[in-house]
Subunit: 512 residues, 2 copies
C-alpha cells in the first residue's frame, strides 16, 4: 500500500467516467427509458452482485471475455493474497456480463419462482479492453431475459418475440426510427449447419462462427481469414452468398447474379442446405417467432439476416443484433437453452439481450435525440412506467382472437402519438404533448389454458388494474380488477383499433 | 484461470446479494426516497467509477478502511499481474466510500463548476469485512455533500444546516419519527481540545478519538482501554462526564451528581475547557448551524451530543450521526475542510454524510415502515421529485425575513400531511392520501447579495418554475418564472403558514 501523501492529483482509472450533474441526467434519461420499456413490456427488475467468483465466467463465457476480466480479491484475506501472489489470478472478477449471474440466480430458486420469469436489470459492467469510441472499461448495460419452463416451439416463439419487441419498444420510446436502427435476426443452428457442410467440426465451429461474425466488420481481412480456414474462392463465394443474400447486401447479391455459373451452384447448395432437418426446424421456428414479433410491433423494424451469428459460445437458437446506420451494433442477444442447466438448474429455455449505455448515447447524440438544459430536466422528471400492470390482456377462448392479444399489447405498450405532435415540424420524443394515449404497462398470459377464470386469476396475482378480454377487433371487454363484484367491474365494450372513437387505450387511460 | 466445467453450482460471493423482483422493489423504495429527499433539498446527482486507483484511498481514508479494501487489477495487463504477484497489492480498489472520489471530481473542475456544489450520489460500495446483521461486503450507500467556495462562518453554518436537514427530510419521508431516530451532532474540535487537555498528542489523538467513539458501543471495554491510554479513574470520569453530559445519558449524569467532589472538579474542568478559543469558536459555530438547521426543519430531531466524534481522520468541524433506537448508527458524516486541497484542488470547505441501505432497510422493517405486495408496487411507481426546482425562495432584502426563507423551504420540501391521513389509525407513509400539499423541490440562494435582480437571475439559471419573494410571514409574492413579463408573472400574495387559507404551498401546488 502506498504511504499517505500530502497533496496529489489522482486521475480516474482509464476507461471510467466521472459523471457531473449534466452527464448524470443524460445517463438517467437512458436508464429511465430502459426501465420504462422493460416494465411496460412486463419485465420485472432484478439485480446481482457487482463482482462474482471468477469460476462463474469460466463455465461458459467465451475466451474473449475471459481474457478481459478485471480480477478482484480481499486485501484482508491472507489466503486470497497468497493466491494472487502465487498464480497471478484472483478469486473474484468484476462482472463483464450479466447472463451467468442470471443463470445462477434462476438455478438457485428454479422451483419456487413463478413461471415464466421475465427479468431485466441495469447496472455497471467491466471489461479490461482498450477504451475507444463506444467502448469503455466501465459501462452500464441493460439486460432483458425471458426464462420459460416450457420447451414447446410455441412457448419459445412467444419468448423470442417478446424479447425482440422490447428492443423495438425502447427505440420508439427514444424517438429512433427504423431508418436509424433495425433488428437483424437469425437462428444460430442454420449457420452451424451450413458451416459444417463446408468442413467445420465441433472443435473448429467457434472459429468459423467468429469468421462470419467478422465479415461485416472488415470484409477484406475476412476474405484472407477464409483462406486460412481452408476454403477455396468458390466455397467462400457460396458462403458469402448464403449469409449475405439479403436485400441489405444487394451489392454482394448482384455480384452473384453476374456470375451465372456460380448462381447455379449456389442454388444447388441452397437446396441441399434446406433439406437438413435442423435448418428446416430453425427456419420454421424463426418464421413462427417473426410472425408473433410482427404482431408485437416489430413490423418494419426486424428482418431475418443469415449472417447474424453472435460471438458467444452459448447461443442455441435465435440470435440477433440491433444495428444502427447499417453498421454499429447497439444491442445483441439470443436464445441460450442449455445455460441454466450448466449452473445446476433444470433444463430451461431462455432468451435475452444486452445493450450498453455508451453506444446508445452516441447514437442519440448523432441523431439529435438527446434533450439538453430545461428539456432534459423535464424529460427525466416525467412519471415512469407503473410497476403495477395497467392492463392484462386475455383472449376469450377463440383461437382466432389470439393474435389480437399481441397487437393490442404492442399498441398499449407503445402508446399513441398525437396528431398535433406528429404534425409539428421539429417534434422530439421528450415533448410533453407527444402522446394522445400514453404508453402503458400491458401484460399477457403465457398459460396454455383458455379458461377465462384461470386467466383472470393470473391477472389478479400480478396485481393488474384492468382486465381486457378480447372477443374480436371491435369487441373488447374492459373490467376493473379492483372491483370485486364481477357484475359492476365490467366497464363496457371497446375497439382495439387506435383510430376508433371507442379505442380501448383511451378507455383505460381515462380511468388510470 | 480454472478450466471450463460441465455443470456446477456456484454461489454468490459471501456478503453480496441476489435481488429477486420483490427484493429489488424494496431496495428501489429506499433509493427512490434517497433521490427524492436529495432533489427536494436542492442537491444534484453525480456518479463516479465503481473502482478507483488504490492510491486514492491512501491519501486520507483511515486504516480501518485501507485494511478492508477489495483490490482489483486487469487480468489482461502483464504489468498489473506482475505487480500483484510481486507485492500482493493491486493498482485498483473497489470503492469503500465516496468522499475521495467526490474530492477528486471537485478538484478536477473546481474553476468551472457553479458554486456551491450541492451533490448527491447513490451506488454500490465494497468492504472486505466480516458480514453480519446490517453489514455486507457489497452494499448501497447514499452520499450527500455541500461544497462551498466561501469559508465564512455563515456559509459553513448554512451548509452544515442543509446537510443535517436533508437527513431529517429523508426520515420524515419514510415515516420515521423522532422517537425512532435522532441526529446527534458535535464539533470534532471540541473533542480534540478536551482530549489534548488530558494528554492526547498529534500522534495519539486518533487513538483517543477512536476510544471516545467506542464508549457507547461497549462502555465496559472502553473503561479498560482508558487505563491503557494512561488515564486515572478520576480523569476517566471527568471525560465521561464531559462527553456524555446530556439528557440522553442521564444515568451517567446522575452518577456524577451523586459525587459532589467529582462534580466540583468537573465544573472547574468544564470552565477551563470553555476558555480554550478553539472550543469557544466550535461551540458558537455549532449554535449558529443548529439554529439554521432548526429553521430548516430538524427541530425535535437534532441535538448536540459531545460524544459524537466519528472515526475517520479527515473531519475538521461538525460531526454527526443519525442514531436509531438510541444505539444503531444509520448515517454519519461531518465537515472536511482540508480534503479537496489534498486532492489538488483549492482550499474548499465541504460537509457531507453517507447512509447505507442495509441498516436503513432493517430499521424500516423493524418499525413496520416497509410496504409489501400491491402497496410496494404502488409506492415505487409514484412520480418522483422534479429535477426542475418547483420553487426558489428569496428574501426581499430585509434581514429579519431571512430565517423565514429557511422555514418556508423546510415546509415545502417536507410537504403538509392531510388531516384525513393523520386521523386514520394505521396511516402509513406510502398511502396515496398522505399529503394535502405534496413535498416540493425548493431551493434557496447562497449568494451573499440582497439584490433581488441578481437573486432572480440565480433562480432563472437554475430553471426554477416559481420565484417566492418573502416580505414577511403573511406577505409572500409568488412569480411564475416562465412568464417573461414581470408584470404578468406576479401571481399574488400569500402566507408562509401552512395553516393559513392562502398558504403559499397550496398556491404553488395548484399551479404545478
Amino acid at each position: 500500500m502506498p504511504s499517505k501523501k500530502s497533496s496529489k492529483k489522482i486521475n480516474p482509472p482509464k476507461g471510467t467516467r466521472d459523471l457531473y450533474p449534466e452527464d448524470l441526467l443524460r445517463q438517467r434519461y437512458i436508464t429511465n427509458a430502459w426501465r420504462d420499456a422493460s416494465i411496460r413490456c412486463g419485465f420485472e427488475e432484478i439485480a446481482g452482485p457487482t463482482f462474482e467468483s471468477t469460476d462463474l465466467y469460466a463455465v461458459k463465457s467465451g475466451d474473449g471475455i475471459l481474457n478481459e476480466l478485471f480480477q478482484a480479491f480481499s486485501g484482508k484475506s491472507p489466503a486470497e493474497i497468497e493466491q494472487v501472489q502465487a498464480t497471478g489470478t484472483a478469486p473474484y472478477a468484476l462482472r463483464p456480463e450479466f447472463t451467468p449471474t442470471l443463470a445462477r440466480m434462476y438455478a438457485a430458486r428454479s422451483k419456487e419462482l413463478p413461471k415464466p420469469c421475465k427479468w431485466f436489470t441495469a447496472g455497471p459492467y467491466f471489461r479490461a479492453e482498450r477504451p475507444q469510441r463506444g467502448r469503455l472499461r466501465e459501462f452500464l448495460q441493460w439486460n432483458v431475459d425471458f426464462i420459460a419452463d416450457d420447451n414447446s416451439s410455441e412457448s419459445r416463439a412467444i419468448a423470442d418475440a417478446e424479447i425482440l419487441s422490447t428492443i423495438v419498444n425502447l427505440f420508439q420510446l427514444l424517438g429512433l426510427s427504423n431508418g436509424d436502427v433495425t433488428v437483424a435476426y437469425s437462428d444460430r443452428r442454420m449457420a452451424e449447419s451450413v458451416l459444417r457442410e463446408f468442413g467445420a467440426s465441433d472443435s473448429t465451429l467457434s472459429d468459423w462462427l467468429a469468421w462470419i461474425d467478422f465479415i461485416p466488420k472488415n470484409p477484406r481481412i475476412a476474405e484472407r481469414n477464409a483462406h486460412e480456414l481452408g476454403l477455396t474462392q468458390e466455397q467462400h463465394d457460396l458462403i458469402i452468398g448464403f449469409f449475405f443474400d439479403q436485400k441489405e447486401n444487394s451489392e454482394l447479391y448482384a455480384e452473384l447474379e453476374r456470375q451465372p455459373e456460380l448462381t447455379k451452384e449456389y442454388l444447388a447448395f441452397q437446396q441441399r442446405i434446406l433439406s437438413v432437418p435442423e435448418v428446416t426446424d430453425a427456419m420454421s421456428q424463426l418464421q413462427r417467432a417473426g410472425k408473433i414479433a410482427e404482431n408485437l410491433g416489430i413490423k418494419g423494424w426486424g428482418f431475418q439476416h443469415n449472417a447474424i451469428v453472435r460471438g458467444l459460445a452459448y447461443y442455441t437458437g435465435l440470435v440477433f443484433e440491433a444495428i444502427a446506420d447499417g453498421e454499429r451494433a447497439v444491442a445483441g442477444g439470443g436464445r441460450y437453452d442449455n445455460l441454466i442447466e450448466l449452473f445446476g438448474g433444470p433444463p430451461t429455455p431462455a432468451c435475452g439481450f444486452g445493450m450498453g449505455d455508451v453506444v446508445l448515447s452516441n447514437l442519440l447524440d448523432d441523431k439529435d435525440l438527446m434533450p439538453t438544459g430545461l428539456e432534459l430536466r423535464e424529460a427525466v422528471s416525467r412519471p415512469q412506467a407503473s410497476i403495477r400492470p395497467d392492463a392484462f390482456i386475455v383472449p376469450n377462448g377463440d383461437e382466432a382472437n389470439e393474435p389480437l392479444v399481441h397487437t393490442l399489447a404492442a399498441n398499449l405498450r407503445r402508446g399513441i402519438e398525437s396528431e398535433s405532435w406528429l404534425s409539428r415540424e421539429d417534434h422530439k420524443p421528450w415533448q410533453q404533448d407527444r402522446y394522445s394515449v400514453a404508453p402503458m404497462h400491458a401484460r399477457i398470459s403465457y398459460k396454455s389454458t383458455r379458461n377465462l377464470g384461470k386467466l383472470k386469476a393470473d391477472a389478479a396475482k400480478q396485481h393488474a388494474k384492468f382486465l381486457v378480454e378480447i372477443h374480436g377487433p371491435d369487441k373488447v371487454e374492459l373490467r376493473d380488477m379492483d372491483q370485486r363484484d364481477a357484475h359492476t367491474s365490467s366497464l363496457g365494450s371497446f375497439s382495439i383499433d387506435p383510430a376508433a372513437e371507442n379505442y380501448i387505450g383511451n378507455a383505460i387511460a381515462d380511468r388510470l
